[in-house]
């Protein structure tokens, strides 16, 4: 398939033209250009000056056939509606908030361990007994901080209780929010920049 036709096909798919229709149009175009070249001509004999702008040609044909909605041409000098003008600004604000939230998750990680100290007479051998931290809380898992605890020797020391909150997962989520937020803000900023220069940003 010729590059021009491939580019048209990509544009039709991007615009949401159904695959059978897009493939049919591409096949017709390919056959016509091939026949023009066999006649000693070129794609320009088939397409006129549209041979130099595949996306515009593809959109024009699809709109004319009614396989995508036609764009309503904006009046000269028309500006986007008040609401549409504020879309990029609102998007930037939302993305920056998301990035800030991600940053907070990364920097201000919650305490991952809670220490509990038990006191017992030296040499007094008892199995450690741990009670729930609060009524209704899920049963925590415990591990002993010192080897002598595992032996049942209980001279007094710390039991480390992992909290319910899985800390490492917050790191990943924080980084993800930060990246998505900054990327989104950059994207909306680009849209705002294009509008400011008067160039319509295509979807």
């Amino acid at each position: 398939m010729r590059p021009f036709v491939e580019e048209c096909l990509r544009e039709w798919k991007r615009l949401g033209v159904a695959d059978p229709i897009a493939n049919e149009m591409a096949a017709d175009l390919e056959a016509d250009i091939a026949e023009a070249e066999a006649d000693g001509g070129s794609a320009e004999d088939v397409l006129g000056n549209e041979a130099f702008d595949a996306p515009a040609f593809a959109r024009s044909w699809a709109e004319s056939r009614g396989v995508i909605p036609e764009r309503t041409p904006a009046a000269p000098g028309a500006r986007p509606s008040r609401i549409r003008r504020w879309y990029p600004v609102a998007g930037i604000a939302a993305c920056l908030l998301l990035a800030l939230f991600g940053l907070l998750l990364l920097v201000a990680k919650p305490e991952r361990h809670v220490s509990m100290t038990f006191a017992a007479p030296a040499g007094f051998v008892v199995p450690p007994r741990i009670e729930r931290l609060r009524p209704g809380a899920p049963e925590p898992r415990f591990r002993f901080a010192k080897p002598e605890f595992r032996k049942g020797v209980f001279p007094g020391g710390a039991v480390i209780v992992p909290p319910d909150n899985p800390g490492p997962h917050l790191d990943v989520a924080g980084a993800l929010f930060l990246v998505i937020g900054l990327g989104g803000a950059a994207g909306f900023g680009y849209v705002l920049f294009r509008r400011g220069r008067g160039t319509p940003a295509t979807a």
């Binding site: 017709d28 056959a31 091939a34 004999d45 088939v46 397409l47 006129g48």
Partner: protein, 117 residues
């Protein structure tokens, strides 16, 4: 005052749909075949837009019917022929064109005579 090329484009744009209906009224044709027939009669689209968007609009509006058929040694092609509505539109359009042409000739034809003289 517009350039000669610009005027030709405007004139062609206003009548190209009639020209397409006329060539497929003689015999059904696929896209490039129509372009070739137009060129043989002195209407080259080089420099103008292609006929495909116009064909698409004619198809969407019900002025042409299509069918697929094998071409000479090539892949199956999409052939176009005028529908009943297309034939009516062609007849009405040709009448409008002739009326406009006569009116323009009544004005511009006289200028041509004076220039020639």
């Amino acid at each position: 005052m517009g350039s000669p090329d610009g005027r030709r484009t405007q004139l062609l744009r206003g009548a190209l749909d009639l020209c397409l209906l006329a060539v497929i009224e003689e015999e059904p044709a696929y896209g490039y075949e129509m372009t070739r027939r137009l060129r043989e009669r002195g209407l080259s689209i080089v420099g103008e837009g292609s006929i495909y968007p116009l064909l698409g609009r004619l198809e969407r509006d019900g002025y042409v019917e299509t069918y697929r058929s094998a071409s000479n040694g090539g892949p199956p092609r999409k052939y176009y022929r005028p529908s009943d509505a297309g034939r009516s539109a062609l007849a009405a359009g040709v009448a409008e064109w002739r009326s406009a042409r006569d009116a323009l000739d009544a004005v511009l034809g006289r200028v041509a005579v004076e220039v020639a003289a």
